[in-house]
Symmetry: C2
Subunit: 671 residues, 2 copies
């Protein structure tokens, strides 16, 4: 178990010190915390690497980006181009899931310096006969580095440059052939290599674009009121799939403790027959690597996963590293827990609150290595059963270094795994979990409701350093969180939050049955918990209940599938919408997303007010597409299937919350 989880090539970045390396390479980006953590991309995504590169004096520089799958023999190279203010950049495409690495090399290019000086001297009418001999020496040296035919040709060109026939010599010196050959055999003797090789975590595509549906399998018995099974729950798979979801997330499916079991609505004492919270894990039947007997067998589970897969649904497992007092680990590994002077195990508490049905694991145990292996083994167990996506419960209450190690270790063998961090906590802790390897993160989206708050949050997520490693997954609800906005404003607000989650973030999800049905009754006023929460009881949902929004969810999800621009998050730009008199509209919010090749441009406009219609003037940023302010173009609302011709940058928009409170426009800029 080691602290550094990327095996780099120490030979490469430990150049012996040589004072003749005149080029400085600094501030390579992306570089997270000085290279301690990887930036993240998904397979096929572009990775643009930039750096400050400069030398002393006025000599010209050539710079290369080096990249490869970590540990591969040899490097791929890409020439870097200078942008502004001594910044250089180049790009490559993220390959298969796994770790890649990249670094930068640059050197004073005497040949390029020389040719540029030659031209200036000629233009100034200076005698260049001596210059040509200086250049010929550079070409001779390149011939020495070259092979076969190229060496011979360089020899010949050097000869011409030394011929004394100025016109012919200059022609040879400035020929594109010589430029190409010299570029092929550069003098890298005094090249500087950036002193770090930086890691890149390449995740599977689903880590960057995913649509999650959460359900409790136990509520899907074919006989209402009974405990559901995986077999019975399989009938839901085609329905969920048809709605356009691709990840099916199951809360914990393990045996549920009986000691101190919670009753309905979180009652301290369970009534007979209460099924308990599935987050109180472990009984004599087993712990994190067992199934709740009433759900079925491991074979049933395997089949469920396979069946889901045939419907395009990846099953996501909930990993909650905490134990009921009945969990086998308590007896088998007593040192993994804290014991109190009265001989009982310390339960979870947040004084003065006590959670006696839950025992936290002591990450300071002297047996931490055994503990880590066992916990990692839980992931491996379910990977073996076909699971690749894990939603990790409260990772911020377990050791950060455990996650660093476990995730990178698991990904080494199983680079197609995806880990979603369910941490609703302070910003720096959320960032640290993402840096530690989690592929996706729950966010504060639920609590960002005004236009100002939403825009500010998206700008933070998509334009600061966070964009390099923290992939948001937006959830308008969870079994724990029914936001007041949904409680108060019902169906129109469910539609608003649906469109926001689905179009602001390429990863989004919902606690499905409750969301589809616009379930909005809290356990009490001022609380975010559901009344009669499914966490503590088996529900029988009437999925065809009037007012459900299945059709709208389905439509939005299919739009996401068809429009590549909605399959990224960091490609967002907010647009201005005026209410009149140059005043920014409070309730209408708009944003553009564009695919990398600009072939797909989506403009979403949302009316944030669940009670009133609003209209305003929207400014489409034509200049960002190099189009004139008076350009004529077309927008097709993919929700209503209506089309408008827009004439220039400012256009009228109007949205009523009664029907669909949003437009998702496909923008067709060229006829």
């Amino acid at each position: 178990m080691t602290q550094s989880f990327y095996s780099l090539d120490p030979q490469f970045h430990q150049q012996p010190f040589d004072g003749r390396r005149r080029v400085i390479i600094e501030r390579v980006s992306p570089e997270i915390d000085g290279g301690r953590y990887p930036a993240k991309r998904v397979s096929g995504e572009r990775v643009t690497v930039s750096a400050d590169i400069y030398g002393d004096g006025a000599d010209r520089i050539t710079a290369l980006l080096f990249y490869r799958p970590a540990g591969a023999v040899g490097w791929c190279r890409e020439p870097m181009r200078q942008t502004v203010n001594d910044r250089w950049e180049a790009s490559f495409t993220a390959g298969e899931p796994g770790v890649m690495e990249y670094t930068v090399e640059a050197w004073i290019d005497h040949f390029v310096t020389w040719t540029s000086g030659l031209r200036k001297k000629i233009d100034a009418g200076q005698d260049v006969s001596l210059e040509l001999l200086i250049g010929a020496a550079l070409v001779d040296a390149a011939a020495g580095r070259a092979d076969g035919k190229d060496a011979m040709r360089l020899d010949e060109l050097a000869g011409v440059m030394k011929s004394g026939q100025t016109a012919v010599a200059v022609e040879a010196a400035e020929s594109s052939e010589l430029e190409r050959l010299m570029h092929r055999y550069p003098d890298r003797t005094h090249a500087t290599r950036y002193d770090r090789v930086l890691p890149l975590q390449v995740d599977p595509v689903v880590a960057g674009f995913s649509t999650w549906y959460e359900l409790f399998p136990r509520s899907w018995s074919e006989e209402p009121g009974h405990h559901g099974t995986f077999r019975e729950c399989r009938r839901m798979l085609p329905l969920i799939s048809r709605m356009g979801f691709d990840v099916l997330y199951l809360p914990p499916v393990h045996p549920i403790g009986t000691t101190k079991r919670k009753g309905r609505n979180n009652a301290l004492v369970a009534a007979p027959g209460d099924p308990g919270s599935c987050w109180a894990i472990g009984t004599g039947d087993g712990g994190h690597s067992a199934l709740h007997p009433e759900l079925g067998t491991i074979d049933d589970f395997r089949e469920f996963v396979r069946d889901a897969d045939t419907h395009g649904l990846a099953v996501a497992m909930d990993i909650a590293f905490q134990c009921s007092p009945d969990h086998p680990w308590v007896k088998e590994h007593p040192k993994w827990f804290k014991w109190r002077p009265d001989g009982t195990v310390q339960f979870a508490e947040n004084p003065p609150k006590r959670y006696e049905d839950i025992l936290p694991i002591d990450f300071e145990t002297e047996e931490w290595q055994e503990l880590w292996m066992e916990l990692k083994g839980v992931f491996l167990f379910w990977i073996d059963k076909g699971v690749r996506i894990f939603r990790v419960d409260n990772p911020h209450t377990k050791g950060f270094r455990f996650w660093d190690w476990a995730i990178s270790d698991i990904r080494r063998e199983h680079p197609d795994t995806v880990f979603l961090a369910e941490a609703f906590t302070r910003p720096k802790i959320m960032s640290r979990l993402a840096r530690g390897g989690f592929s996706q993160s729950y966010t504060y989206f639920t609590w960002r409701n005004s236009k100002h708050d939403l825009q500010e949050y998206l700008v933070e997520l998509t334009t600061t350093e966070l964009k390099e490693f923290m992939r948001p997954n937006f959830w308008p609800n969870t079994p724990d969180i029914l936001h007041e906005e949904l409680q108060l404003h019902g169906r129109p607000m469910f539609l608003i939050r649906l469109v926001l989650a689905a179009t602001l973030s390429s990863n989004y999800g919902m606690y499905g049955p409750a969301y589809e049905l616009c379930e909005n009754v809290p356990v009490m006023e001022g609380k975010e918990e559901y009344l009669d929460s499914e966490k503590y009881e088996i529900k029988a949902w009437d999925m065809d209940r009037p007012g459900n929004i299945r059709a709208e969810i389905t439509r939005v999800n299919h739009i996401r599938r068809e429009q590549p621009a909605l399959q990224q998050t960091n490609n967002i730009t907010f647009v201005r919408i005026d209410a009149g008199e140059g005043r920014e509209h409070d309730m209408l919010m708009g944003y553009v997303k564009r695919s990398d090749d600009d072939a797909n441009v989506i403009l979403t406009v949302v009316n944030l007010d669940p009670h009133a219609a609003h209209s305003g003037w929207l400014r489409f940023p034509l200049e960002a597409f190099d189009l004139p302010h008076d350009h004529r173009f077309r927008v097709e609302d993919l929700l209503s299937e209506r089309t408008w011709e827009w004439d220039g940058e400012w256009n009228f928009v109007s949205l009523h919350p009664g029907s669909m409170p949003a437009h998702i426009f496909k923008v067709i800029l060229q006829p």
Copy 2:
């Protein structure tokens, strides 16, 4: 010769990996380029170190700042306090010039966590008898770590806590005595140390506060028209000292080459008797470690330096690593230069321009190690003659890595040395030189003239990362640069730029005789060079010429000496001055500087318009001093010696360029 120039203690920051270290320490500040370069302070200056520190879960943390002179045995410690957003900080005072180092350690503090839980449980009326036993075990463990009396006392207190008498036990548990003792013997078993020890360059005080006067000794013969000597120039020392300067900077004083010597006004051919540019260094009489024979002997120079010192003036030497074709190095070390095919040495050029009197040194020479030793030897030679301050000419055209090495190597033996980088080049290169060890840097101040440009530049210098390592030295003129603003607007503009340089930056300087006399004639329109530049000829200055601003310079310099707030640069805040109708004034600029203890507060107001009087309403930021908006206070103009009573934050100011175009107010906030 090695790349890392700070010898750190590898034992310290290479903790063996232990998964039980639950605290994360990140983003320690200041940390320049991931610890590659030191932050800078001067002796006696406060160093505030901050870091993101947090653990998993809700347990409490204790954090310590560690610091010491680099390589010392043992560390000094300072407890860190939590500010906001998981940020912690603590301070220490920079000691003697040299390198210091600092790092951070933090751990989950189970005792602090326990006491805070105990109080909450008591307040909630819970039974705490078991809790007291848990706490007693922590106290017992501390007793085991403690010595003698403290161990006995901890034992006793643990006994009380175990006594079963709840009231007495709680009193002991919450006693300040126990808190103090537990703080003295913390359990650091699983403490996290930040994975880097960070360097701090501590410079002598003069690096942070200095007032430079530049003169050419050869112009100060007692017989006008003759070549001046060090002996003759000594009569200037009391005059310059009385004006309030503390650094006397001499352009190169070495033998001046004769081959391709430049004539007056930079003529390509020198006339007989032309003294040449003192930056064309080296003849048969010697090079960088020799004196121009006409200036005097090494003993004369030593005496000059000593005499200057008795007048409170440190002599700053110009180090320009370039050679005239007559420099001894050309023969002794031919490999340090580039040779052309015709057997001549490559001169300096910027095609199509040629500088045939100057040979650049080839920093790619295979003899780079010998070269570096020799160049470093030049500094050591003059250090031996009493010089401690070096103004380095065009350091950006020499190898960056040479400066890194040379400056740190010299400072190891001579930590009281100061290096000023004379680089007027691109921003990232200026920053890199400062990071490489230069104590002070020339800046773009000369070319920042409007209120907007000045404010923006100062904000960049004093609030971005630059503030940690780049100390600006503001020069309103140099022998090379007579800005158009000075050319066009004469004396009023000389006064404006004087006050700006002297009060915006704690380090400032002037090419003295020309500035005192408001010399403002360029060699030709559109050029920044002086007509009849002293660089190419011996001048005879009439220092009593009418219109000189010696009195004003003297006054400003003495104000700087008396007001500690003006002896720092990063302590600046700009204030709002309105022209009326809420419109920011274009021409009146104001800024506050305050000493660390707030005992000294200076408000400078400058009229940037050399032709017209301006008045406006200035808002003094009383809230920054925790004073009400209607607070009454007094301002004394240290230039005019007039005093005003100000009533509240908004106050009228009016400045005429004819007399003094500025106020330097001492602000007396409390009667």
